[in-house]
Subunit: 149 residues, 2 copies
Amino acid sequence: MSIFDNPDEYFMQQALREARDARDEGEIPVGAIVVADGTIIARAHNHTERLHDVTAHAEMLAITAAAETLGAKYLQGCTLYVTLEPCVMCAGAIGWAQLSRIVYGASDPKRGFATLGRAMLHPKTVVEQGLLADECEQLMKDFFKSRRQ
Amino acid sequence: MSIFDNPDEYFMQQALREARDARDEGEIPVGAIVVADGTIIARAHNHTERLHDVTAHAEMLAITAAAETLGAKYLQGCTLYVTLEPCVMCAGAIGWAQLSRIVYGASDPKRGFATLGRAMLHPKTVVEQGLLADECEQLMKDFFKSRRQ
């Protein structure tokens, strides 16, 4: 898969790579990428275990890193690719950052922000769901299955 | 005001000190304290401007610092004192951290989490509002008034 064939799928594959890195570190396998003008400006995966920090979700780390790269608080014009539907905390951060677009893979019916509507996002933020959802979901399922064994 | 007379008010005064530090640094004046067993284990104020990071709210920084102090992800048994009603992002973080109690001063009818209910909090978290609300609100009002001049 080249970036030229299908940029969205290419970037979600990159988010999946981050998610697999998380899995390999014993973290819940969620990965996130921030893209500006077709370029990845931040990549991160879940670090809650290693940092003992419930706020260290992939999206939070990616937003902080993207702001650092740009030297700007707001991420207008940027797209966030994330393998799992963001939780309310991350959706709140996405709202403050005013990201133009978020694309997520697997849904999270229990903890995902969509259970509360999308009032916490900036009204102009475009939300797309379901890209590579099977692959994103499978990673989560396999992880929790292996932890129960 | 001694900690022995009214611990809640004492700790909110400490949160207000943090908020005033934020104001003096040109940050939106919000301060937060985390208390465990009657002891302050973390204190923080808003750093969104200095860090160019929309996620650097007082509550987020205080939760991360408290977890660091305790060496544990979850803050069960801890109370968070914060001068302003937490936003959805911070309420989400409070939910993940499973804080036992949050006490906030000023309400935030526009951006506060309560506009969406309290589904993002842990069901056992006790929420108390309005402690030193006038003082907490005045700090915000004066700050925004001074910025408009």
